[in-house]
């Protein structure tokens, strides 16, 4: 069953351009059907994994480590669940939104690339082979470069090009890392590597390999000093793509990092043998503060959200590198929650552009009087970003902080709280301008059209929902860690 998770998007990406020759409108429907179908299958298999434990699929029937396998366990089932969900929302959003942003002649090709991107990130999440991971990283990246380059402004080209350069460096670093580890062990299968590596932990080869793997993924993840590609890429790409990338792109890299750290290597190696944990806690803290600070300095709404993403990525890596149960759980929940809220925020930002052509925060004056409902969604998602209680963001931060306290990293607490305040300020700035700003001209209500409003509504309402009904993410992430750490 799990093989269809990647095959369906792949097939639909082939189908979109072909059917697109007949009728342009088919692109959307094929993509939508693909998204729904994949999402259903993922729900089904996640449930199965949750009940019966991990599921493996040997490609071509060749048993690992000789062949390539798919593994679906607690961890990646959560990740693909959220990815597929975000993708579904983005597809729903795309129809109306792309009408203004993409030439309709190329729409079926555009959907084709979108499906390829979907294929790529699902492939990254589900594969059990590290070289295969590289291949899928490249599929996802190539399509992401293209999607970004389809932005309306010419800056999008430069954004895409910069992402391409840095992304390729990252991917090649991953390739080098794989090479070193492969050289030390002779194997490429993750489960097999986990068995072979412990005896080699003191080998310089393995350490270098580890360094390059993580470094490459950090580049893809846009951890603070390596983040330069991200803001422009998110800002200048089409609205749908900003939301899609913000919800899925860095998340899947974060997943890959967790996989490498805890499923290929072991926690013992990460914490005790090399100072990975310490270095990355430090880097994450810087990322958290700098991301929020830089977000504060932005004039462009989407860019502000993008910088805020950098801060939020810091939370995720912080939880990962604290390397204890609560923190990692918090990290996984934060991947889940941040996808929801950032996608919601980008949907809404795209909606402002669609309806009013607004890009800068200053131009949002009085928009709350024109679009009160839309703005209330923005408040919900924004407060969730801040981490106000009863929103999803609170839970993940809670877990991360508890993890930090357990590991006696007290410095984490003020940093996280400071960044919460900073994010409160930059969200509040938007709200204040939109509620109290003097708008010029008419103020009659015009909400977003339903196709744009609906996905934004779903994702922001879920921010509240998962802030109160926390059982699902907590339980799923707990199961994920149980399997990951083997107890």
């Amino acid at each position: 069953m799990i093989v269809y998770i990647v095959l369906i998007p792949l097939l639909s990406s082939l189908l979109t351009p072909i059917l697109g020759l007949i009728n342009r409108k088919t692109g959307f429907f094929v993509t939508l059907i693909n998204a729904i179908l994949t999402f259903t299958i993922i729900i089904y298999s996640t449930r199965k994994v949750y009940i019966y434990g991990p599921e493996r699929y040997f490609f071509g029937g060749f048993e690992p480590p000789y062949g390539i396998e798919y593994v679906l366990d607690g961890l990646n089932s959560v990740i693909i669940l959220i990815i597929a969900f975000i993708y579904l929302l983005s597809v729903l959003y795309s129809k109306k939104s792309l009408e203004k942003e993409i030439e309709q002649k190329r729409i079926s090709l555009f959907y084709c690339i979108m499906n390829l991107y979907f294929t790529g990130i699902l492939g990254i999440a589900i594969t059990g082979d590290i070289f295969n991971l590289y291949v899928f990283i490249e599929i996802a990246s190539l399509s992401a470069y293209t999607l970004i380059a389809m932005g309306l402004k010419r800056e999008s080209l430069m954004a895409s090009y910069n992402y391409l350069i840095i992304g390729t460096i990252g991917a090649t670093f991953v390739l080098i890392g794989i090479g070193y580890i492969f050289m030390a062990t002779g194997s490429l299968n993750m489960a097999d590597l986990k068995l072979r590596l412990p005896s080699l932990y003191h080998s310089k080869m393995v350490r270098t390999g580890f360094t390059f793997l993580t470094l490459g993924l950090m580049l893809k993840l846009a951890l603070f000093p390596l983040h330069i590609w991200l803001p422009n890429a998110y800002t200048y790409s089409p609205s749908t793509i900003s939301a899609l990338l913000a919800g899925t792109g860095t998340k899947v890299s974060a997943y890959a990092l967790i996989r490498i750290l805890y499923s290929v290597f072991t926690i013992d190696f990460d914490v005790n043998i090399i100072p990975f944990s310490k270095i990355f806690i430090f880097l994450s803290l810087i990322a958290i503060v700098m991301g929020s600070l830089l977000a504060l300095a932005q004039k462009n709404l989407k860019k502000m959200l993008a910088y805020s993403s950098i801060g939020q990525i810091g939370y995720i890596t912080l939880g990962i590198s604290l390397a204890n149960e609560s923190a990692l759980q918090g990290s996984i929940i934060h991947i889940f929650n941040h996808s929801l809220m950032k996608t919601a925020l980008f949907f809404i930002a795209g909606g402002f552009f669609y309806k009013q052509g607004i890009e800068n925060i200053q131009d949002l004056k009085g928009i709350a009087r024109k679009m009160p409902l839309t703005m209330s969604l923005f408040i919900i998602a924004g407060l969730s970003l801040v981490g106000v209680p009863f929103t999803a963001g609170f839970i993940s931060k809670w877990y991360i902080v508890i993890g930090a306290v357990e590991s006696k990293y007290y410095i984490v607490i003020p940093v996280i709280l400071l960044s919460s305040i900073l994010s409160l300020v930059y969200i509040w700035r938007v709200l204040e301008i939109s509620y109290f700003g003097e708008s010029n001209g008419n103020e009659h209500k015009e909400e977003l059209p339903v196709p744009l409003f609906f996905p934004a509504m779903i994702s922001s309402v879920l921010c509240i929902f998962f802030g109160i009904y926390t059982e699902l993410p907590v339980e799923l992430s707990k199961r994920a860690i149980e399997i990951l750490w083997g107890y």
Partner: protein, 487 residues
């Protein structure tokens, strides 16, 4: 029946929440919001009474709403101080409702819906805070109070209101996130429990320095107590409509602050532990400094509401002082001063509002001879002032007397001097107003109408003034009810 009893405790805050929902849904019906507000306030009061009856008869009422995580739950519990606080808040809400009807009409306010809606929401959060059974629940509702009162502070929508709102948020939310939340995390990290307990949470914890740090984090995190370095938000919040200033910034919000402090000092820490770590000296110093300094500032204020605001700051510190003296009598004094001050100060605010509605006067210097045109209002004002000063025969005397007794139990006699001086200052900033109102001649340019009082504005004022007097004679009932707080 048992089930209903369990649910009773939820019903108190719920009546506020449902009220606001109904108001929002039927926002276009005329007179509906006023009626529903009054009904819900009665409901809230009745439910509080019922909870009080259960508590008196010795039943333990508690209700766990849901779990945010296995160790993190939204949990409500009823005890005597909580009931007391809920009773005061809900009773004054009833009166404020009647008052606001006329006030909003008098000031020709257009945003009635949002006013009533957020008002009810604030009461919901306040009563929920009163019944909170653990720190997390307290923190959450503490934050919610801030969020719900923000729209009331910025109600006017002017530039000043917006910047006042910004300050309001910066102080209340910023400090609570930075300090309160840190303290909460540290508490959890040390004790792995957040439930309020009679024997405190730190019974078996030895690290004195960390405990002191946590205590101060709590103290400065709870900015709603408005002690001197963190009091600036309260005067700026006076830009809100007078009913808001009256109920929220003299009763609900600030009292929520001191109530939270009460919880922290008595149920997270215990007096014994605080005495052991010598944490109380700073608390006493700050609160007594606040008592004096705020009174001095009040003396200089010409704006009536601002003078009342600084008086509030000074009076709140009586409560804080009572709590930080850490003996039974002084704690009792603090709790009873919550009530006494509530009734006295709300009377004063109501008067200020009535004066503004009728004559559009805001400054003390303009009030010459106002007593001739609004005799009953100013009569009530006099009663409120006397109660605030602490003249025997008025409610304020009782708590002040107890505070004196608490100080003598504590044994630090220079505090007598603080109280004495403050009483003098109280008299010197309240009595001139009364004198001006009754014994000075009005300016000649005034209009010809003789009596400016309107019944709807007058009745609430008289009721609260009357109760201020009655409280003096009924004080023994209150003590019986509160009983031994730490039994």
């Amino acid at each position: 029946m048992e089930y209903i009893k369990e649910f009773l405790i939820i019903l108190v805050p719920l009546s506020g929440l449902i009220c606001s929902l109904l108001i929002y849904i039927f926002r276009n019906e005329k007179y509906f919001k006023e009626v529903i507000s009054v009904i819900s306030s009665f409901c809230m009061f009745v439910f509080s009474l019922l909870v009080g009856r259960e508590v008196i008869s010795g039943n333990f009422l508690s209700y766990e709403l849901f779990n945010l995580s296995p160790t993190l739950s939204i949990y409500f519990k009823a005890d005597r101080p909580a009931v007391l606080f809920a009773l005061v808040a809900s009773f004054l809400w009833i009166i404020t409702n009647f008052y606001s009807i006329e006030y909003l009409k008098g000031t020709k306010d257009k945003k009635e819906t949002s006013f009533y809606c957020y008002f009810a929401l604030t009461l919901f959060a306040t009563t929920a805070l009163a019944f909170s059974g653990n720190i997390v629940t307290t923190f959450i509702f503490y934050e919610l109070i801030t969020i719900f009162t923000y729209p009331l502070v910025t109600h006017k929508g002017t530039k000043e209101a917006v910047s006042a709102g910004r300050k309001y948020l910066a102080y209340l939310m910023g400090l609570s996130i930075l300090f309160f939340l840190t303290a909460l995390f540290l508490t959890y990290g040390i004790t792995e429990s957040l439930n309020f307990q009679e024997k405190g949470l730190f019974a078996s914890y030895e690290n004195k320095k960390l405990l002191i740090l946590i205590l101060f984090l709590y103290f400065f995190g709870i900015a709603k107590t408005a002690v001197i370095p963190i009091h600036h938000w309260l005067p700026t919040a006076m830009i809100a409509p007078t009913p808001v200033s009256a109920l929220l910034h003299a009763v609900a919000v600030v009292k929520a602050g001191v109530f939270t402090l009460f919880r922290v000092l008595n149920y997270v820490f215990t007096p014994e532990i605080i005495l052991k770590i010598n944490g109380h000296f700073l608390l006493i110093a700050i609160s007594s400094a606040t008592i004096i300094i705020a009174s001095l500032i009040a003396l200089k204020q010409d704006n009536l509401k601002l003078r009342l605001a600084y008086s509030t700051i000074s009076q709140l510190s009586y409560v804080v002082l009572g709590f930080s003296l850490l003996n039974k009598i002084s704690t009792l004094a603090g709790l009873s001063h919550i009530i006494m001050h509530a009734f006295g100060k709300i009377t004063l605010f109501f008067c200020a509002g009535a004066i503004y509605v009728q004559t559009h006067k805001t400054e003390v210097s303009q009030l010459s001879g106002i007593g001739k045109r609004m005799p009953f209002t100013m009569f009530a004002f006099a009663i409120g002032s006397l109660s605030m000063i602490g003249i025997p025969g008025f409610g304020g005397f009782v708590s002040k007397f107890l505070l004196f007794k608490g100080i003598s139990d504590f044994g630090n006699y220079w505090l007598f001097f603080v109280l004495g001086l403050s009483t003098l200052l109280n008299a010197s900033y309240f009595l001139p107003i009364v004198y001006k109102a009754f014994f000075e001649e009005p300016e000649k340019t005034e209009g010809h109408r003789k009596n400016l009082e309107s019944l709807f504005l007058l009745i609430p004022v008289l009721v609260t003034a009357l109760i201020s007097v009655l409280l003096f004679f009924a004080c023994s009932y209150i003590y019986d009810f509160i009983g031994d707080v730490r039994s």
